[in-house]
Amino acid sequence: MVTIQLFGMTKMLAGNRGTLSLSLHDGKRVKDLVSVIDAAYPKIGELLQKKKVLVSVNQEIAHEDLEVKDGDEIALLPPFAGGNR
């Protein structure tokens, strides 16, 4: 199982849940994670496909080929706002 943190509009699209728990086998990559999310939450999946939502692993934006390991800190990041500047 991996836990994925949600923020902003992705949290809203997941029914205001702050986290998702997904079962994922060893040796899986970010792109596999994206497929699992796409199946469960197609609207988030679409944003992930369009790269409007990015995946971070251990607080860095992750390439789709990065391997996800047990204990990794994973999050879905919608477009940053930064402040009303």
Binding site: Q59, E73, P78, F80, A81, G82, G83, N84
Partner: protein, 157 residues
């Protein structure tokens, strides 16, 4: 400002460093943050500051208030990186980066960058780069409260 009262020797450098990069709910005083930066060196001659505040309009819509959400941990990490790169790449003496989260009323402070240098040119360059970079890489999200409802703002549609 009393430069003599509080010197670097009076407090561990690590405490100071932590205070120079913060994501916090509370409002802040620009004078207090400037004092924090200025006591780092008497060589400072030019200080460029950027203060972002909550406007009452956004892209033609009325805005009643804003809520900021941040990714605890990663947001701080990115702001620390911005401070360190600004100091290194622009040759400035000190940089402070501060962002609020939570509910923000129209007119209130949102974000503060302070870049202090010997001369003004590099202070301006570091300050402007830091706020541009903050907007690009910091995991902070903005929910605008408008008369028509709440909208998560996408800066890069």
């Amino acid at each position: 400002m009393s430069l003599e009262q509080v010197t670097k020797a009076d407090r561990p450098a690590t405490d100071d460093d932590a205070m120079l990069v913060r994501v916090q709910r509370e409002d802040f005083s620009i004078d207090e943050e400037l004092t924090r930066v200025r006591r780092r060196s008497k060589r400072i001659g030019g200080i460029a500051t950027f203060l972002g505040t909550a406007r009452d309009r956004s892209k033609g819509k009325d805005v009643d208030g804003i809520t900021f959400e941040h990714y605890e941990g990663m947001a701080q990490k990115k702001l620390r990186e911005i401070r360190e790169r600004a100091i290194k790449d622009f040759g400035v003496i000190e940089v402070l980066v501060l962002h609020r989260y939570g509910e923000i009323t129209i007119g209130e402070n949102i974000v503060l960058i302070i870049a202090a240098a010997e001369h003004r040119a590099e202070a301006f360059r570091a300050c402007q780069w830091a706020i541009d970079e903050l907007k690009q890489i910091t995991p902070i999200w903005k929910l605008e409260h408008t008369p028509e409802g709440e909208v998560w703002v996408e800066e890069h549609p």
